[in-house]
């Protein structure tokens, strides 16, 4: 499990700290890479140093991001053959119907709302880690 990487795309440092804390608390030992806006996320996959970056087991994508929005990042990932099968979980505050619809239309593998209650959030992250890092079989890279 040591070689499994989670890519967290999150601009809010509080949310970043809480997500990392929740992962740690749930004994999810994978490495977590954090990028803090949409452009950085695209650079991770398509930038000049992209080849050095490991392919994430799962991408946790926030929707409201500076520079390039989360949905735009998702659209670009799905447009490229290199990343069109990349598992992407939308992890966001919004439960706007339009966001959920657009997320799935653009090919999100899952849509999870961050609960305000941290206990619930912990539980969500626990299940998320268990599912994507343990149960789910990723496409061959």
């Amino acid at each position: 499990m040591a070689d499994k990487i989670i890519l967290l795309i999150e601009d809010n440092p509080d949310d970043e700290a809480l997500t990392l804390r929740a992962l740690k608390k749930n004994n999810i030992a994978s490495k977590v890479r954090v990028v803090r806006d949409g452009q950085e996320a695209l650079d991770y996959f398509f930038g000049p140093e992209a080849s050095a970056n490991p392919v994430p087991t799962v991408v946790l994508l926030d929707l409201k991001l500076p520079k390039v929005s989360g949905l735009e990042v998702l659209r670009r990932l799905r447009a490229e053959p290199k990343t069109n099968m990349q598992p992407v979980v939308i992890l966001t505050s919004s439960i706007e119907e339009q966001d959920i619809i657009n997320g799935y239309k653009l090919g999100a593998n899952s849509y999870i709302r961050k609960p305000v209650d941290f206990d619930q959030f912990m539980e969500a992250v626990r299940q998320l880690g268990l599912y994507w890092l343990v149960l789910n079989e990723n496409p061959p890279s």
């Binding site: 809480l18 919004s94 439960i95």
Partner: protein
């Protein structure tokens, strides 16, 4: 004359017929009387002359033999003619030979009068010689009354009146029967004039042949000046106007052809033209009949509607952006407050005493409550924005589903519920589910402390004969004095400690029912229960508000 023009056409026609008949008969009567007067005299003169000649030839012998008695006898039969007043025979020397008088008062003159005829005060007198061969043997005198003109005119007057009545009896029914045929063109004309829409007829050369007064009004040009001029001259785009009537002549008609009329005052009037050809009895095209409809007001209204719709869309977009921002940005700090409070409790527990732990617990409680408030607020906004569908909705089935779900989540509670089956209304199934869910969840919540809780869903007819659906419970109820606060957003009639909640549920219900064009009301008695009634327009064209 003015009064006459205002009479109905039917009356006018009747008057004209009677007048014409009377004048014709009167003229006929006068000429008959004049002619009769002339011929009557001639005829009387002639008949009296003949009479005189007969007498003259009859008395020749008496004169020659000087036998006045015989002459007297000869004159006697004149009594058969009541018009003859006197008659006499004179000798050649002029002395009275024999005489006849109708009455004793009138006597013929003693001496013979000069020969000839005389008409004096209705009496015609003839004096003529009695000839034997070429020798005059005496003379004859005869005087007769001629009936006066006035007597005859009176008699004719009676005949005239009778003829008048007879002719009217014959002509009036015929005239009335023909009246519609005569009056219809007049009627049609008045209809054309009554129209507020401009009507124009055009001949195959494109010249105006007739217009109504609405056309005069819309162009600012008199009927006389319009007739004979080119139809297309009065539009902002004459070429397009020409094409319009050419199209009518080639295809038979045009519908809603848009043109703009130029008023002499400088105004432009947008119209839609409907035109078709009209033909004579043999089917030959005589011209085009065109009716225009002034759509300036509609166009203005359309622009206004478009402007308002655009404004509304902008407002809606702003509201959506606002909701989106609230949904994303307001909840993130809350999550941080809650998350780090928990982190404090977990990681720094040895530095916190019981009071500190308690306070952090309160921070977390308040944070989570605010999270729920934000969610409810967003839900309320979503209910107002969401697009409505209209379809039959089985309210009974929804209510049963929700009650089963509530029971499943809290299996320890023993609750009796009753749903009237087959209640179907027109509306948006998702919104109505939210409304019924809120009402039943409330009922569920407020009956929590009831020994034998009961929830009922059904329908009844109110005083206006309209269907009202209701959710009834025997729970905590409420004081009707505060009923006006029931449906206000974030308004509560119970404390959070008694019954938790944000006070948005009934506001959501009201918004959903209002969007369906219905009404909602609540009735309650503290400690005995509450009933919430709502109505939904039963057909598809109920007024749907966006409140």
């Amino acid at each position: 004359m003015h009064a006459l023009t205002e009479l109905p056409i039917r009356t006018k026609l009747t008057i004209i017929i009677i007048l014409t008949c009377t004048i014709a008969l009167l003229l006929a009567g006068i000429s008959i009387v004049a002619y009769d007067n002339y011929t009557y005299h001639r005829q009387k003169e002639r008949s009296l002359s003949v009479q005189a000649e007969i007498i003259a030839s009859g008395v020749i012998a008496s004169l020659e033999f000087d036998d006045p008695k015989a002459a007297q006898e000869y004159l006697k039969p004149l009594a058969a003619n009541p018009q003859i007043v006197t008659a006499a025979v004179y000798t050649a020397k002029g002395a009275l030979f024999a005489s006849y008088s109708r009455s004793a008062t009138r006597r013929p003159p003693a001496m013979a009068e000069p020969y000839g005829q005389r008409l004096e005060s209705n009496e015609l007198t003839i004096s003529a010689p009695v000839l034997q061969g070429r020798q005059q043997v005496g003379s004859i005198y005869i005087q007769a009354i001629i009936e006066p003109l006035i007597t005859r005119v009176t008699r004719y007057g009676g005949i005239f009146v009778l003829a008048m009545i007879a002719s009217l009896l014959i002509t009036l029914p015929i005239a009335l029967r023909l009246h519609y045929a005569i009056a219809n063109p007049v009627y049609a004309r008045s209809l054309i004039e009554a129209s507020l829409d401009p009507f124009i007829t055009i001949n195959p050369d494109g010249e105006i042949t007739d217009v109504n007064s609405a056309t005069t009004k819309v162009t600012g040009i008199s009927r006389e000046k319009l007739i004979g001029t080119d139809f297309s001259d009065y539009f902002t785009d004459p070429e397009k106007a020409r094409e319009s009537y050419q199209q009518v002549f080639s295809e038979g008609s045009v519908t809603d052809y848009p043109l703009t009329i130029r008023h002499t005052g400088g105004d432009f009037i947008d119209v839609l033209y409907n035109a078709s050809v009209y033909r004579d009895e043999d089917g030959h095209v005589l011209g085009v009949f065109a009716a225009a409809r002034d759509v300036t007001a509609q166009k203005k209204a359309e622009l206004e509607i478009n402007r308002r719709t655009a404004e509304l869309q902008v407002a809606n977009h702003e509201l959506e952006a606002f909701s989106y921002s609230v949904s994303h940005d307001l909840r993130a700090p809350l999550r941080a407050i809650d998350g780090f409070s928990l982190a404090l409790l977990e990681d720094c527990s040895e530095q916190l005493d019981d009071i500190g732990t308690n306070y952090l617990g309160r921070v977390r409680g308040a944070t989570q409550r605010m999270g729920r408030l934000i969610d409810d607020m967003l839900e309320l906004a979503r209910i107002a924005r969401v697009e409505m569908r209209h379809e039959p909705v089985d309210l009974s089935a929804i209510a049963i589903e929700i009650l089963i779900e509530l029971q499943k989540n809290d299996e320890k509670r023993k609750l009796v519920w009753n749903v009237q089956p087959g209640l179907v209304a027109m509306g948006d199934i998702r919104l109505l589910r939210v409304a019924i869910d809120n009402l039943l969840s409330n009922a569920w919540k407020y009956t929590a402390r009831q020994q034998q809780p009961r929830i009922e869903f059904g329908a009844l007819l109110n005083e206006d004969g309209k269907t009202e659906y209701f959710v009834r419970d025997n729970g905590a109820g409420f004081d009707m004095a505060h009923a006006n606060k029931l449906f206000g957003a974030f308004q509560r009639l119970h404390s959070d400690a008694e019954f938790p909640g944000t006070g948005v549920g009934l506001a959501i219900v009201q918004r959903i029912i209002h969007r369906h064009g219905g009404r909602v009301r609540g009735k309650g008695v503290p400690g005995e229960g509450a009933t919430f009634y709502f109505s939904l327009p039963t057909d598809g064209d109920g007024v749907i508000s966006h409140g």
